[in-house]
Every structure is written in C-alpha cells, then in structure tokens.
Symmetry: C2
Subunit: 336 residues, 2 copies
Amino acid sequence: MPDCRFPFEKYPVVTLAHGAGGRFTQQLIDDVFTAALTEVQKDHDGALLRLEVGASERLVMSTDSYVVKPLFFPGGNIASLAVTGTCNDLAMCGAEPGELSCAWIIEEGFATESLYRLAVSMAETAAEVGARLVTGDTKVVERGHGDGVYLNVTGVGVRRLVCEPGLIRAGDSIIVSGDIGRHGCAIMTQRQDLQLQSPLASDCAHLWPQVEDLLPLSENIHCLRDLTRGGLATALSELSQSSKLQMTIETERVPVSESVSSVCELLGLDPLYTANEGRMVILCSPQAETEVLRILDSGAAVIGRVEEGQGIVATGAFGVDRVLDRLSGEQLPRIC
Amino acid sequence: MPDCRFPFEKYPVVTLAHGAGGRFTQQLIDDVFTAALTEVQKDHDGALLRLEVGASERLVMSTDSYVVKPLFFPGGNIASLAVTGTCNDLAMCGAEPGELSCAWIIEEGFATESLYRLAVSMAETAAEVGARLVTGDTKVVERGHGDGVYLNVTGVGVRRLVCEPGLIRAGDSIIVSGDIGRHGCAIMTQRQDLQLQSPLASDCAHLWPQVEDLLPLSENIHCLRDLTRGGLATALSELSQSSKLQMTIETERVPVSESVSSVCELLGLDPLYTANEGRMVILCSPQAETEVLRILDSGAAVIGRVEEGQGIVATGAFGVDRVLDRLSGEQLPRIC
C-alpha cells in the first residue's frame, strides 16, 4: 500500500466526530479517502466531469449500494466489488465506464487502516478499467448500526453499443462469458469458514474490456446482462420477461467449476441461482456465435437459444426439461 | 398519496427476501420504488440520460448518502432531504440539477408503507426543481443493522455558472440567503421530544431556483456554498481555507429566528455551527450586493466581507472580535 500520513496510531478507529463534517471529517477525507480519488477537486461538493459527449451519443447512469459481508473476501473486497459492480452495470448498458462517485457509510469503531486499504483498492480497481473516481461523501453512524462499511458507487459513461432486451430475437444464441457461481461460493465459504483444499476466489472483475472487444460485432450483439444476485437463472428470467421470449438452455453446457460444484453440493445451493460478479450472458445472432466465442476468454460457452414462448426451460441430463423461475426469496443475503 | 397496488397488508414490513434480487425485490421496485422514478427504464440496471451537453458546457456530478435520524421530521423526511441535499450540491457548483439516482439500504422489518411514503415524497421533491429520478438500487440488511433507511442520491447536471472559491476576492460581500439553524434545531427538538409553542420546521429546500435567478449577475457572483453539517461557521472556514482569504462577519447581522435562538440556548448549541438544508452563502462583488438582496427572498442579509488574511473573524456585540474555527468534533450526529 502507498504511504499514508493519517495518524492511524492516534485514531485507530473511526469515531462519530469523523462524520460530523468538521475538521475530523476533513482529515479522514484528505488523508484516507483521497487515496480513492483519481483527481481531487477540493473546492466543491461535486466534481466537474471530463466526459465528452458527441452529438450522436448518449450518457448512461447507474447506481448500486454494496452491503456485502464479509468486507474482505477471497478475490476482492467491498470497495473493488463496488467499482466493478457499478462499472459492469454501465457496461451492460453498452456504456464505457467514465466517471464515478463513492459514498461511504461507516460504523463508529471501524478501523481507519482498513478504510485506507479499501480506498486504495477502490482506486486500483477504477484504474484497471480507465474509470475516474471524482467525488465522494462520508457519513458515520453509531456503533451497532451499519456493519463496518456500506458503500455506494454511482457511475456515468458514454454509450458505445445499443443493446437491450427489446432487441433480442427468437433464434438468438445465449452465451455465458465464463464459469458461474464463484462469487456466491467464495462469500459463503468465507462466512461459514469452510476449509477448502483449493481456495475458491470470487469472479469479481470488470466486464467492459470484453464488451469493448465485442464492439466490432455490435450489429449482431442484441443484449448483455451481468449475472449478479440471483445468478444466471434470475438474469435469464428477467430477460425472458422483458423480451417476451423463451430462454432455452442445456444445463450440461453451463460451465461450472469443480470447486463451485462441491461447495454448492455441500451447502445445498444451486449454481444456476448463485451470485456472480464478473460474468455476463450475451444474446447474439447465431451467425456471430463463433466470433463471440473467439473474442471472449476460453471459458465462454454457448448454453442455449432464444425461442418463441416465455420463461426459462432448462434441459438437463437424459433430456428432461424443467422450468426455472427467478429467485423468489433469499438465497444468500448480503452477497453484494 | 397516490394509490399503490403493493399488498401492504400481506407484507407490512420489508424482509431480507426483498433484498435478494428475485421476485420479491422486483415487486418492491415495481410497486413501491417506481413511485419515486420520473421515468421507468425497466430493461436495464442503469438509465439513459437525456441531458444535452453543448460543446462549451460541462457536466457536474455530486453524491451524498443520508443517515438522518429521525427519518420523518418537521419540514421534511430522509427522502426529500436526500433530493434537495444532492440537488443543492449541484446548484452550489453552478449546475442545474438534471438527473438523479437513488439507492436504498433498508433494514429488515421496516414498514413497507413508510417506504412508499418516502418514495412518493422523493418524486415530488425532484419534480419541484425539474430534476429527473432515473435509476435506483435496493439492498436489505438484517434487523439491527442499518437504521430503518439509509439513502444515497447521486446527481448530474449541466453547469450554468462558473463559481468557485478560487474566484473569491478581498472586498467581496458575504451574503446569507436566509435565517440559519432551522434544520439542526428541528431535528434536535424532534429527537429530544421538546414541546415548543411554535413548532420549528427544517429549512430543507431547493437552492437552484435562487441560483437560477442570480444567473444574470453571473459575472459578479464568485462563489456559492450551502450551509449543511457544521453550519455557517464551518462553511466560511472551508471557503477561507480554499481561497486563502479572511472571512469577516458581524454576528449581529446574521439572521437567526427567535425559535432557533431559544432552542439553541436550551440545548447549548451555537446557531453559527448548527446545520441547515436550504440556506447558502453568496460571495459576490460589492457592487452586486443590492441586486443580489433584491433577487433573493427578504430573509437574505449581508453579514460581512472578505479581507486579506485567513480564518473567520466574527465581530460581536460591543465590537469584540473572536476567531471562529470549523467544527472540530461532532455537534449533532446524523443530522443529514
């Protein structure tokens, strides 16, 4: 971690005074949270954006709050998750992640050094995708409220690709960008303190680089959707509802790693409903299928096809069909 | 309140399932939170913005999370406060509030009907200033975490006025747009359950309409700053630090209502440090003073002048000077 002049020994934990908007708040912002910002615009409680929007272009905005527990998990932490999560939502709208805000709700008593680790991680994650963190906010709530840190990251970006459920057509291929369920399983093994032979890391990662690589195929890319809370089944169910078409998948073609399979079996989870933070489905014309697979990582796979009808039909082993619904209740609370 | 088809009797409180991203979350969004949105763009986890940015214009972005307690208070609630607060931050950057996102962190067990009241109030408050609420997010945390509702509102808008601490000059007039301390006092009387003869309401209100009225004087308006956490003294202290100039004020010219005076005396608060949510200071050329006062409501007053030097000097009764510092610790936790 880069050096930090914040007096961690004198103030090892956040106090309510750090949230009162006075000198303590300023010190926390200057010494700790500035590490998260790409460019410090000190004089205002807002930031001038650099986004350049051409006459034919449109801006996209997306927001997410993050309440994941634990705050640090194999493959990421709440801050890296918050940046990738919001940037991925922009990417799924076809927008290049441009500028981001971050707003921290911190529980009194939270370690200031952990806060700094999170701020640094946030900056690194934004830099990975070329997004700029330009403005922020800090609130502190009393001990026992909140839960360490809750984080909001909101982003704006310029749309580079028009893709939406309304463009999905019967006959489209359904492609998943990699194996599913890693994020949910990584969080659950951490929470349950399961000792695995090969530790399972979250798939938490930016999707924009893959979307950018797909831009030359834009005519044939109809819709993108990241798999988050509720997993692949919930994402496909939403797409079915929006497009008024049926999503037919062959469950045996859905890539699931051995470790995810084992954890799911152990904990009674269904990988199809387990959370991801670095995977998407691509709905595209069948003639673009091979090219999409070539562009994406080797983990990508065609898992099914769009048909007239509604809902999701999953064809499993021995050709038995089952109808999948979206997650109705909770599978894993506070997964993101 | 407009009718709502959400089954409040069946689901009187929010459950963890409402935060899991599945069918329950969708119902909460469709039936409750949609009331908050100006335009529903259902198909994406982000919204296309309508903001039109000309070649010579710049976009501004601002974010704030709100953790105010109690959630409903005289003169407002957490949702109206969140919308005015973020829109005011944009206005202080000279930007017209354009498009907003809202992100809710809800405690399990929170009344769904209260949530709907908040969503409706949010929509009304955004409409007042012509801002558009275009996208949102919902998370639910376990009972005992959070505190009813925490809310983030992030906004973007087009800059109409260039104003910043760097433009402040020695000789500038310091004008406050109305009497101070109402928000802090309203919250405190509510929290302490004080019975006042004349109930005190928060000053929670949009500042953009006043800023818009001042646009014809843009050459002479050097800086705007809203008075929030930490009050007038903290705002002036920050401006002094950023501009490297001294703010000299005559405390007897600072407008304070009788009820705010009494409450402050009773609770041992200093109105100069008490929070506001609908007041700003305007730093302008002295020749614009009269015109600014004419444009603002009758409550506005010239309270001092910018001088060479640093810090805030407050001249009180009998001409005694005292040096004010920014709030160093906490005066009122969770005031916004």
